[in-house]
């Protein structure tokens, strides 16, 4: 990718108060892929859950690989009401990077890939699927337990292929 040519900031949210979820809405369809960079702390340990277009049906699945520092593992969920994304230990600064490919096309189901980094729990990667051909216009990140703490940041970028 040429520097300074295809990576656009769409929106950023720095939490002024604790919140259980963050939503990016009215997302333009003018990019190719989306990236969300999440730098956060949480009030309770749990996975970030991703849903699209407010769909809470059993239309999501994901597969993960991870390492705890002593053991390596893998897990998956199917027909879930969300994509189970990265884990966060309570009160530990973590970073998660979510990439959503071809989010605006209306012909294919939507796939995601993400990396999570929690040095108190696990390092891992996850792939996800939303079984919908609808263009993604909103994304909600929900902490599985408790809140995202004040000062957590979530930034949505658009990547253009041309």
């Amino acid at each position: 990718m040429a520097a300074g040519m295809t990576y656009f900031p769409i929106a950023t949210n720095t939490l002024g108060s604790a919140a259980p979820s963050v939503t990016f809405s009215s997302i333009s369809g003018s990019y190719t892929d989306l990236i969300i960079v999440q730098s956060s702390q949480t009030s309770a340990g749990g996975y970030t859950r991703i849903t699209f277009n407010s769909d809470t049906g059993s239309n999501y699945s994901n597969t993960q690989i991870y390492g705890s520092g002593t053991t390596a593992g893998t897990s998956r969920t199917t027909s879930s009401s969300y994509i189970q994304s990265g884990y966060s230990t309570a009160s530990v600064q973590v970073s998660l990077i979510h990439q959503i490919m071809n989010y605006s096309n209306s012909a294919t189901y939507k796939t995601t890939i993400m990396r999570w980094n929690d040095t108190s729990d696990t390092v891992g990667a996850s792939v996800g699927l939303w079984r919908s051909t609808s263009a993604i216009t909103s994304i909600t990140l929900t902490q599985g337990s408790g809140n995202y703490n004040t000062g957590s940041t979530f930034t949505l970028y658009g990547i253009s292929a041309a």
Binding site: M5, G67, S95, R115, N117, Y157
Partner: protein, 171 residues
């Protein structure tokens, strides 16, 4: 429309070098993204390491590694004196002309929270020894990151190794 992905500095080694440093990093970005293509002059062995530190600090790091070699997977806790130990091929036994592919992402590097880091590293040499690594890193320090310090502790980074530091803005 604003462009948010900017090259801060590029380094291409013209000679074998043990240490590569990015200093006086501007504090005007939101995140930092480092891309490395490196090889080591280390003898005898097929691999070496690319240590990643910040602000010349050798303390307050925590890290975890998940890796696969093509035949096995494993997970390890990293050394507390550096952020990441990324693998790179070495002259001693690695296929000639093969270099690593490493990316390091540092969100909110100028903020006052502890600094969490993502790194992915691969060493693919079309030989028996190959690795894909996922790293999680944390520097438990509230200082802004103004330097990134890279070193090969077992040899030198080989001529032709490249190091690109990008800044990403969120607005």
């Amino acid at each position: 429309m604003a462009y948010s992905f900017e090259l801060i500095e590029a380094k291409t080694l013209g000679s074998n070098t043990a240490n590569v440093n990015f200093t006086s990093i501007p504090q005007t970005y939101t995140d930092l993204y480092l891309l490395i293509s490196a090889r080591s002059t280390r003898g005898t062995y097929s691999d070496s390491s690319c240590y990643v530190k910040v602000n010349s600090s050798s303390t307050s790091y925590t890290s975890k590694l998940f890796e696969g070699s093509g035949s096995a997977v494993g997970s390890f806790n990293g050394n507390t004196t550096r952020l990441h130990d990324c693998i790179i091929p070495a002259d001693g036994a690695a296929t000639a002309n093969t270099f690593s592919n490493i990316r390091v992402y540092l969100p909110n590097y100028a903020g006052s929270n502890y600094k969490s880091s993502t790194a992915d590293s691969i060493m693919e040499t079309n030989a028996a020894t190959a690795y894909a690594q996922l790293w999680a890193g944390l520097w438990s320090n509230t200082a802004a990151i103004t330097e990134i310090n890279l070193s090969d502790p077992l040899g030198n980074f080989k001529t032709g190794s490249t190091f690109y530091l990008y800044g990403i803005k969120n607005s």
